[in-house]
């Protein structure tokens, strides 16, 4: 199962720089990063090649860090690719609380990262629909 780390940060200059530098110094590669901005604070969601280490080093540096399982779905990088998955999830009444995506370096594929309320059911439904979900190992290697 893939997972991301979510870090609590105050909205003040230099916080993203500090977090990403810590990860860089520890040889951790960032696949994707998103920010939920709440004004005076925000949550930074980071998808890395090594979530265990990412979580450890950020905690050691004094940050409040939370690990969250996410579903990574491989999709075709073409118009309507995302719509296919979204429509299917909607039909299966899977509620998405957050989503972001990125394109893979090689080939014509993209990855959609989903945060969902009911993780186990969602993963099963997605697999049954014939979509490929990423394992932790696969995420590490892309």
């Amino acid at each position: 199962m893939a997972s991301q780390v979510t870090v609590f940060v105050e909205n003040k200059p230099g916080r993203i720089a500090r977090i990403t530098r810590i990860l860089g110094n520890n040889n951790i590669n960032i696949r994707a990063i998103t920010i939920s901005d709440m004004g005076e604070y925000g949550l930074i969601n980071i998808l890395t090649n090594d979530p265990d280490s990412a979580s450890d080093v950020l905690s050691k540096e004094g940050f409040s860090v939370s690990r969250k399982y996410v579903i990574g779905v491989i999709m075709k990088d073409r118009p309507g690719g995302l719509a296919d998955i979204a429509e299917y999830l909607n039909k299966s009444t899977i509620n998405i609380s957050n989503a972001y995506g990125f394109i893979l370096k090689e080939g014509d594929k993209a990855v959609l990262i989903l945060e969902v309320d009911d993780f186990d059911r969602a993963e099963e439904v997605i697999r049954k629909g014939g979509f490929h979900t990423l394992t932790e190992g696969e995420l590490h290697n892309i």
Binding site: F8, E10, Y41, S59, F63, S64, V65, S66
Partner: protein, 428 residues
């Protein structure tokens, strides 16, 4: 014909005043001894005011521990009103008034207002909160006693305050200094010049400390005379001491209160001119006499006579407090009251800092809470709910509306020994 003084007692000779005080003090002892608290603490009578210094003090914590009626000196059916501090349960203090107490209080306030120049023809807009807080009702009854047209506007609702001033040509206002400054911003937005467009001539500034500069600023912005007042609910509320037109200190109405200044550490009496803690004794209170009350307010007595002719001694502005009491928007509050509520919320624990600041001249409380790893689950809704819960609890328990700021772990100062959890950034 209108006189300068409301009451002849204002200019009574000092020796006559002392005789009157001794007579009323002994009467006060007689009444107070009917209460559980004072029964065994007071002698039957004393022969000289000098003997008062041997009577034990009454403290805020005595008032709290005698809650609800340990100091009541008359049957409860004689009580017609109570006022209470905004304490959380168990920490509140309550003051009871008989009909005669309310009457005496109204008369002292009327005397104070008359002294500043208020007359029957005035229109008095009372912009202090009505309710358990004594600021609103105290001036209200005094103004009615004096015979001025009284508008019980209460606090808040700035647009309505401005409308009332314009529609009824208010000439006298009672307002906290910070609200007066805040309201001026609105006047500018409404393109109203208070000096030329309104009829204000007198303002009573009270309920919170402020500087001489602030008084001058309010006087020039509004084109009026601003007067300082002093009072505390334990001694009725407003009307304990008030400035006369000379504006050099506030006359303490010594026919109704005995004024002492003591060393806050030793409790020893200090002379006029020396700075110390104000100690007051009620002389006319029936329902709940309070003897040698440690107000916690630091001030000094002005030596010498006042050119206005009044013989009652004057006290300086309040210079500070002997304890950590805060005054937020005119309401007295102890940091412990806020801390108790915060500590009762497990997610907050000991990781908070209370900051007090001025925003547009109004007091604002900002509570910083650390988001420690133990309470962080990566969920925004959870964090927002925590903020809401803190605000609700504080609003319900002690009627303050703080802002909550979530901060990163270990970002709040850790002090050794007694933690500093309150930072007051307001400039006095």
């Amino acid at each position: 014909m209108e006189g300068t003084y409301w009451d002849r007692v204002e200019t009574i000779q000092r020796d006559g005043l002392k005789k009157l005080q001794l007579k009323r003090l002994n009467k006060t002892f007689e009444r107070a001894k009917k209460s559980r608290f004072y029964r065994d603490r007071l002698p039957e009578t004393i022969n000289s005011l000098d003997a008062l210094k041997d009577i034990p003090f009454t403290t805020k914590s005595d008032l709290r521990s005698s809650f609800p009626n340990g100091m009541l000196s008359v049957p409860q059916e004689e009580i017609i009103r109570l006022h209470s501090s905004s304490g959380t349960t168990g920490r509140a203090t309550v003051i009871y008034h008989t009909r005669s107490d309310i009457d005496s209080w109204a008369d002292l306030v009327a005397r104070s207002m008359y002294m500043t120049g208020v007359r029957k023809s005035d229109v008095f807009q009372n912009m202090m909160g009505y309710g358990l807080f004594t600021g609103g009702l105290g001036l209200h009854y005094g103004s009615e006693r004096l015979g001025a047209l009284t508008i019980p506007a209460s606090s808040g609702n700035s647009i309505r305050q401005i409308r009332l001033m314009k529609e009824f040509n208010s000439t006298v206002i009672h307002i906290t200094p910070s609200y007066a400054l805040h309201l001026y911003i609105l006047f500018q937005e409404e393109c109203i010049d208070p000096v030329s467009d309104l009829h204000l001539r007198i303002a009573f500034l009270g309920a919170e400390p402020y500087s001489e500069e602030t008084r001058k600023r309010i006087e020039s912005l509004y084109g009026l005379d601003a007067f300082n007042s002093y009072g505390l609910s334990e001694m009725n509320g407003p009307g304990v001491a008030f400035e006369c037109p000379v504006k050099e200190g506030m006359h303490v109405w010594e026919d109704s209160y005995i004024l002492e200044v003591v060393d806050p550490e030793t409790g020893d009496l200090l002379s006029d001119g020396e700075e110390g803690e104000i100690v007051l004794t009620t002389l006319k209170r029936e329902g709940m006499p309070v003897i040698r009350y440690r107000t916690g307010d630091i001030a000094s007595v002005f030596p010498g006579e006042c050119p206005c002719g009044r013989t009652h001694r004057r006290i300086s502005r309040i210079k500070g407090r002997t304890d950590d009491m805060l005054i937020i928007k005119g309401v007295n509050l102890y940091p412990m009251q806020i801390e108790k509520i915060l500590m009762d919320i497990p997610e907050v624990g000991n990781n908070y800092l209370i900051e007090i600041e001025k925003i547009d001249y109004l007091d604002s409380i900002n509570i910083k809470v650390e988001v420690r790893p133990e309470i962080f689950h990566g969920d925004i809704i959870e964090l927002e709910n925590l903020k809401k819960r803190i605000v609700e609890d504080l609003k319900n328990e002690i009627l303050i509306h703080p802002r909550i700021t979530l901060v990163e772990p270990n970002s709040l100062p850790r002090s050794e020994g007694k933690a500093v959890r309150v930072v007051d950034n307001r400039s006095k």
